[in-house]
Amino acid sequence: MITIDNLNLHYDKTAGYNTDKKETSTQVIFDLSLTINEGEKVAIIGPSGAGKSSLLHHIYKKLQASAALCSQRQGLVDNLSIYHNIFMGALARHHWLFNLVNLIRPFEQELTNVAALCQQLELEQPLIKKVDKLSGGQRQRVTLARALYQQKSLFIGDEPFSALDPLMASRLLEIILKRHKTVIMVMHDRELAMSAFDRVIALDKGHLVIDSQQQSIDQQKITALYQTSAVA
């Protein structure tokens, strides 16, 4: 589905995004080669600053047409309700006139769909509530629901459970894995990454250091990765 060959990425500190310009930026990904096939469930792990998000956003840019992104920069519209924020995932499926009317007066069918999705994601809040009134964990689930509501075959997530408790995280992960053919996800919980995904990729300081199938994960190597980085 995607093959990356000798990728080098730079991060522009002043602009705050990935760039090709070399002068004002620092390199975050070094000569990285990687192939991800359709149907795979891939977790990306690594200590902070390893370049995980940069790599993920690069992959998203290549696969934009078929992918739903659940970014750390949530991009929720504070002034809109939970319902409208989640509905934003479905904008591409409808005519603009439908979307405009829905902004003023939600459609029954969409309301039912969104309500069902919220229930599944354990988000028991009135749909009319504005998202700026929600807690960090609730906002994260609204972001997640919006990505799910895009109903794509590929899910790309950047630590979508960082503000949730581990048990809820594994329940929600199960839903995501079940609903998408392919999943590429940056995980901060490496235990969960190793147990729930087919394939685990580890980055360290912009280099690909581990790429293994679930059966052959070298536990010690991963632990060591986090320890050395913590010291450095």
Binding site: S71, V77, N79, L80, G89, A92
Partner: protein
């Protein structure tokens, strides 16, 4: 212990700016005409105070109609301004659109009204258009600023295959709606002021009756009208909640005084003859143009009206800037909850409300009655009005600051914690208002202060429309130049939301 001598401690950035404002004002003060000419201001003052104590609410014959018309012009002006201005905000980045808007914005409502008065007469169209045009140009700019300052991240997370209308409404418009609503509400207040001021050139709004009352020395009637006007502005949020706007719009259309039919021949005559320079009237081909007479006509206006007018306008504006700074600091301290117990700050807030509600034009008019014709009434009026507007915004900001968790007196707390926190923003606001001060300064000409507006007004009354138009162009260009210059010189945080 070795004695430390002359530790270098230079003035800070904001101290330098403050000093510059005052230095400039002091240098040009000798050139400003600030003589008190009135023979006995105290007799007039005591009569005015007496009038203020005994307001006569029943003296004005058409009071109710005047209030309704004031509100009607404001509502219809803001509504049409939104209809025209909001779409322009989407294409404002185009240099032609933005410079056209800057030009239209730079011409004051009163000058627009004076222009339309020649075409439509005292018809409501004149009043509504005079508000609509500058307001549309302002909405375009401010909405554009609000939209580009909003976060991009919602757009990033929307499926890129969704159509542009859906992406834009959900990702941008929904996000900035509260800010745009708040700004529109604020502009409505400005429109009410403008609408009242249009009365001074004859439109049937509150200002018309106010001017008549003050000019005839009926101070009881005048003060009653002022009180009504301040109350009207102070209570906008009660009588005009957002939900009722549509209702008010319908009422405004229904209760508008009859619109007399527009005489199209008048319009054609105005465009094809009246506004043309004398050298260009009654000619049919380019060959007939008498260039020497055209250029001498233009240089006469330039040397005897435009340049003296511009100098007076800038002099007045710069002195008023320093005076505004003075008023801002004092009035802010007066209404700060960090200095006074609550009941006293309410009194301060009331002062702020009165100061910012009364249009500077009316303030200047009152001081003109007291002090006689010079720049002084205009300076005082500008300082009071703008100082109160800025202090109002500053108080809003300083009241959100949590007091220090440290034992110190309120006075020390105010000087060491509150003022340093809000001062940069306060100065930024003062500089943003400078553009507005220049704009207002031109208008004082109608009261007889020899700024650009004075020459424009005299040309209108002498039916030299072509001269007036040239001077209006100069006024607009001056405003545009100051706007560009101040943006270049001062790299202040971009925040145009307070312009009025």
């Amino acid at each position: 212990m070795p004695q430390q001598k002359n530790i270098h401690y230079p003035l800070g950035y904001w101290q330098n700016i403050t000093l510059s404002i005052w230095l400039i004002a002091l240098v040009i003060l000798p050139f400003a005409d600030i003589e008190i000419i009135s023979f006995d201001p105290f007799i007039e003052l005591s009569r005015m105070l007496n009038g203020l104590m005994t307001p006569d609410f029943l003296a004005t014959e058409y009071l109710f109609q005047a209030i309704i018309q004031t509100i009607n012009f404001a509502i219809l002006g803001v509504f049409l301004g939104l209809v025209l201005g909001a779409p322009l905000a989407l294409i404002y980045q185009h240099p032609i659109v933005s410079s056209c808007c800057a030009f239209l914005r730079a011409i004051h409502e009163i000058f627009w009204a004076l222009l339309f008065l020649q075409i439509f007469g005292l018809s409501p169209i004149t009043g509504i258009l005079a508000i609509t045009i500058p307001f549309a140009a302002t909405f375009a700019r401010v909405f554009h600023d609000i939209i580009i300052q909003s976060s991009e991240s919602p757009l990033e997370s929307i499926d890129s295959r969704a159509d542009i209308i859906s992406r834009f409404t959900y990702g941008k418009i929904a996000q900035v709606m509260p800010q745009m609503m708040a700004y529109t509400r604020y502009r409505f207040e400005c429109a009410l002021r403008s609408s009242a001021v249009l009365g001074f050139i004859g439109m049937p709004t509150l200002g018309f009756y106010m001017e008549t009352a003050f000019r005839q020395g009926n101070y009881s009637e005048g003060s009653a009208l002022l009180i009504i006007f301040i109350a009207l502005i102070g209570t906008i949020r009660y009588w005009c909640p957002a939900k009722l706007l549509a209702v008010y719009l319908v009422i405004a259309c229904v209760t508008l005084v009859d619109i007399p039919s527009v005489d199209s021949s008048l319009l054609i005559r105005f465009i094809s003859q009246d506004i043309l320079p004398p050298a260009l009237t009654n000619i049919t081909t380019l060959a007939e143009v008498r260039w020497s007479s055209l250029s001498s006509w233009f240089t006469t206006i330039l040397w005897y009206q435009a340049i003296p007018g511009i100098i007076a306008t800038i002099t007045l504006a710069l002195v008023a800037l320093a005076a505004t700074h003075f008023v801002t600091l004092n009035v802010h301290a007066l209404a700060s909850k960090h200095l006074w117990p609550a009941p006293l700050t309410w009194l301060g807030q009331l002062t702020l409300l009165i100061g910012r509600s009364v249009p500077e034009y009316i303030l200047a008019f009152i001081f003109l009655m007291l002090l006689g014709p010079s720049m002084l009434p205009a300076i005082i009026a500008l300082a009071i009005h703008n100082g109160c507007v800025i202090a109002y915004l500053a108080v809003k900001q300083s009241n959100t600051i949590a007091p220090q968790q440290m034992q110190m007196s309120k006075f020390n707390q105010f000087n060491y914690h509150i003022m340093p926190d809000i001062y940069p923003n306060m100065i930024a606001l003062i500089f943003y208002r400078f553009e507005i001060i220049v704009r207002e300064t031109a208008v004082f000409g109608i009261l007889g202060i020899m700024t650009l507006g004075f020459y424009i007004d005299s040309n209108f009354s002498e039916i030299r429309y072509s001269n007036a138009l040239v001077l209006i162009m100069f006024t607009a260009l001056l405003n545009v130049a100051i706007d560009i210059l101040s943006r270049r010189l001062l790299k202040l945080p971009q925040n145009s939301q307070t312009s009025c």
